[in-house]
Symmetry: C2
Subunit: 249 residues, 2 copies
Amino acid sequence: MQEKKQIGKIYVIGIGPGEEKQMTKGAESALEESDVIVGYTVYVDLLKDRFGDKKMLTTPMKREVERCRLAFEEAQKGFTVSMVCSGDSGVYGMAGLMYEVGRDYPAVELKIIPGITAASAGAAVLGAPLMHDFAVISLSDLLTPWEKIERRIEAAAMADFVICIYNPSSRKRADYLMKACDIALKYKSPETVCGYVKNIGRDGECSEITTLAELRNKKVDMFTTVYIGNEQTMEISRKMVTPRGYRNV
Amino acid sequence: MQEKKQIGKIYVIGIGPGEEKQMTKGAESALEESDVIVGYTVYVDLLKDRFGDKKMLTTPMKREVERCRLAFEEAQKGFTVSMVCSGDSGVYGMAGLMYEVGRDYPAVELKIIPGITAASAGAAVLGAPLMHDFAVISLSDLLTPWEKIERRIEAAAMADFVICIYNPSSRKRADYLMKACDIALKYKSPETVCGYVKNIGRDGECSEITTLAELRNKKVDMFTTVYIGNEQTMEISRKMVTPRGYRNV
């Protein structure tokens, strides 16, 4: 039996939400070890100062499959490659697509290096909204039927999950957050404590704590992460706090 | 008007799942800056080698309120304090309770430093199970009525979320994972791809990919994180992979 020959290695790295200090030490050493860094233009630019000696390859948005192939082609040449994603590479990142595309490159080894996802980073800005069971839902209907997204918001609201929303808006989907709030309002009180954070860990970071009724009318962009509390979520000293359970402190 | 005087400062830090390399640089600098480190005995022990010069204060499990008060008392003396949690301090961690207890210590500043939560770290071990909408549910009924937990599993399964389960078992709740799987099986195929990881980032880390029907009969412990796939989750080269959407690569 012939042994499968390992040719190259790819780290699929979550670099966190933007600030260098939110990157793990494991992500940093994987980047240091790499010959080539591949990623979406914006994220690779964030690394140019510190890893400028590496070969950098980028593709724009919506060219993700091509980006994966770029990484595998470099690894096939024997290089160690980092595929970088913002946040966690395993949460709406490139990890899954890399395994899918990787079926064509069986000799390349993949290693996933997790990062701080927006749900965690934004929660830390707002206070402690995710202390209890929560659902993470993207409102992007680019690759998911909107009916399925609606069904998930409905189920999460019905069962009193804290809901964390990624991609709440874009030019083509300006009213999606309003639609999502209207579904949540079928089950959750209009006074439910909610919050959102824009540009987590980047220039222009800002956040607000509000109610579900008010969140419905907020204009947010695609760089915003939104949190809808559960029935116990409260505001303490201008922070959004979900208790860890149903007994009092 | 008299200005509120800030006395001390507490970092509420997620140190990640165990391995030093999964700690963020921000968590490390906060620990370095601190005079006192407070936490659950097991996690503080992990830090003794590197931060042995700090004052260390610990309380055992189920003494969380007391642990919070210890931290605030030290901060009131003017010290900079780190309250450490495994994983992310904001996900089933101490962040929420710290804000609750902090109502009695209004002059102490709290800053939450997020970490890699088990959902992210375990996902990276298994492959890429969390590439699409997911629900995080703890099976611990210590502070949550079991009926509420059941309702959340049911809603998440019905709406085809990937489900990530924390605290799937303990001595007193040996059959809770079985119960959770039985609820999921009402909506998800017995062939649904599932996985679990024990001791993420620690000695004895191990993982397995299985089906929902088989997961039902697995014996897992409280240091295990469990993943139930959505209807598109698949196994690729012995990894658990959820595609990012509903279009083919």
